[in-house]
Subunit: 420 residues, 2 copies
């Protein structure tokens, strides 16, 4: 029988009692930030639950991990503590448990309407890495930038290619994105054109939030890598294609990416995603031993991108994709990242790379959808090659359970004009 | 007349009263970390000086910026506060000022022998960026990796090329560096070879420590960029050339770099470096307006790299270079970094890129010195193409004043073997 909560959760809600994703919020603008979990249309304030002594398991009963302005301490504690917290919260919220259900005072203090709170970044991000793990995206980018011969480079099939991103400009869903200015490729002997980017794009990604880290010099074994992953979020890796194309050789993307990266507020845990695992694609050539997993799995997470064009009332779906399209798994990404001894820290962010699927309707960015602006996209009357000022881009994602959803909420951002 | 301190400072010491570089240290292994400045063979404990009420200027008299485990708060205060601190400390340490000189109790508490303290990273680094600003280095790398035709790409002359590095693995001078393992380029159809890097290298760099940051979406004007620079340090951007060469196309260096980056402990301020400015090289083509400075300057800082080969008693100089060889200035780097709206935060680290000069004896890494291992380097009897386990690499740098030095101390690290 499906677990039910005493809090009414609509079957379409992303935040079922099976989900219980973690975030950080302020109940009032003047309150201190604190951790919470989303349940239906509410946030459960974990600092209040902790103060009430209801985290009574052996690992959490004396911890101050929920009296913190972010989740870094909690995610550093590791899977046994995460499982204990989940068991405590699922019991506390279940329909048959009176502790919270029948305590009006505690309900009043700890259950805050979701639509009244301010959501903040759930973790302090030490470092942000972005992978490039969808074969479809990689192939499309290769054809667009280098032509149809050999669009996927040889190294791509042997290692999960990645680069370092910028942690300072990672923002929470709802934050406006200022259109970046920069240089683009010159024509002939003219100086490079300079100004607001003319090829502003989104990238549909998800991202791992790292749990316990590893010491510098001590790689994480591939078969333990899952224990270093707390959960995942939606991520929009906004990209300025004209800036990127001019700057990125030979050291990779820089100003074309680091003006902003948007995260969804709720971290969905691997425990909540466990029922939605699926086989990872067969890898040929076979990966080296340090990337070979006993069990190699992906997650079946339906993803959707909508654009609400400037001045329009309605948004329009531009892509439907799925996390299961990744070639390199989240655990392979993490093991590869540490094989040289690189240390991860709790709260680090590992983006998957743009999640494009095989079909034309499942491409994860405008670069692919409009083939670098060659074609235009029709959006209920508006047309777009790239994003215009005032456009709002929203990602959603969820797993479909039997009568419930495990969802990620939304990851949204609106483009505002460059400074003069 | 040259300012003298009541503390004896040998003319060869890097830490004259004209210098007063900032660091963070523990007087005893069990003490809390605190800020200090180096003077001769001592560290002046700034938490003690602050507790004694001796920072009595208007900006610092009520600040707790020296009762912190790092310098982030102090560097965030900006140049007026930095100038006030410098004036206070130069007066306090001068030969003619009795306050500290004649107070045995305060001297005892606040002056700690340098050789007895543990030095820590001076700032908590939010993000680390590495530039590529020496034309000599860029040209040599281009020839080595792509051949003598067109070794410097067109974009390089229009913008200071950079990539994001890894903040978590930045370590303080003296920390051992574990040889990274990883994949290298396969031969023919074989799988990529995997194991400890066979081409481990150093890169002679310096790095800016960012002072006040900027808000996301608000670029820093080129002519205000210097006010965002607190000071500079020596930096060794350890690099595994075999890992790097296989992984870096198309998204840039990743595991070939992020296993460790070493900083010297003392941040030398721009105030202390002001007497050692020199003209920056003329830039042709002229930079775009956002990179055009009213005054464009470099710093004349002599740099030296020594290697002490494993099992040997003595070290051997392998390179003498100078920061003045940079094509792109530190202020151009910073302005470029923010032109798209990217936000910098106090304590961020901006590496210059390898500082190679024009002569064969001034090349800043083994890749250039041995031409990617084609030639070997003779080190007093030992020979090296790349670094071996047990090798110790030490950078030093200083400016030569009239009867005093403004120096950076040393930036050192020893290679230890990969894990089995
Ligand atoms: Ca991306
Ligand atoms: Ca470098
Ligand atoms: Mg981004
Ligand atoms: Mg490095
Ligand atoms: Ni010898």
């Amino acid at each position: 029988m499906v677990l039910k909560s005493f809090i009414e959760v609509h079957p379409d809600s992303h935040f079922s009692v099976q989900n219980l994703p973690y975030g950080v919020f302020k109940p009032h603008p003047s309150s201190a930030p604190r951790p919470g979990v989303a349940i239906g249309d509410y946030v459960l304030d974990l600092s209040e639950i902790a103060s009430a002594g209801l985290f009574d398991g052996p690992l959490l009963n004396n911890s101050d991990c929920f009296n913190q302005p972010n989740l870094n301490k909690f995610v550093s504690l590791g899977r046994p503590a995460w499982k204990e917290a989940r068991a405590t919260l699922q019991k506390l919220l279940s329909a048959t448990e009176p502790t919270l259900r029948d305590n009006a005072n505690l309900r009043q203090k700890s259950l805050v309407p979701l639509n009244s709170v301010e959501l903040l970044l759930p973790v302090a991000i030490g470092d942000y890495t972005d992978f490039f793990s969808s074969l479809h995206h990689t192939k499309n980018c290769g054809v667009i930038f280098r032509g149809p011969q050999n669009p996927v480079l040889q190294n791509w099939f042997h290692l999960p290619v990645a680069y370092h991103g910028r942690a300072s400009s990672v923002v929470i869903s709802g934050t406006d994105i200022v259109r970046p200015r920069g240089q683009a490729h010159p024509t002939g002997d003219s100086p490079p054109p300079f100004g607001p980017s003319l090829k502003l794009d989104f990238e549909l990604e998800m991202a791992t939030i790292v749990g316990p880290g590893n010491e510098l010099g001590k790689p994480v074994d591939i078969n333990s890598a899952a224990d270093h992953i707390f959960g995942i979020v939606l991520m929009n890796d906004w990209s300025a294609r004209d800036i990127q194309a001019w700057e990125y050789i030979p050291l990779g993307p820089f100003l074309g990416k680091n003006f902003g990266t948007t995260l969804s507020p709720w971290i969905v845990t691997l425990e909540a995603l466990e029922p939605f695992t699926c086989d990872a694609p067969k890898q040929d050539p076979p990966p080296l031993p340090y990337l070979t997993e006993k069990v190699s799995k992906n997650y079946d997470i339906s993803l959707e991108v909508r654009i609400k064009p400037a001045g329009h009332e309605d948004s329009c779906v531009v892509t439907r994709s799925n996390l299961k399209h990744l070639y390199w798994t989240l655990t392979q990404q993490l093991a590869h990242h540490t094989i040289n001894g690189c240390n991860l820290r709790p709260g680090d962010l590992l983006g998957t790379g743009t999640i494009s699927g095989p079909e034309p309707e499942s491409l994860g960015c405008l670069l692919e959808l409009t083939w670098n602006g060659q074609n235009s996209l029709s959006l209920n009357g508006a047309t777009r090659r790239f994003l215009e000022d005032g456009d709002e881009v929203t990602f959603t994602g969820y797993c479909e359970g039997n009568g419930y959803k495990v969802g990620f909420g939304t990851c949204t951002g609106k483009i505002v004009p460059s400074p003069p």
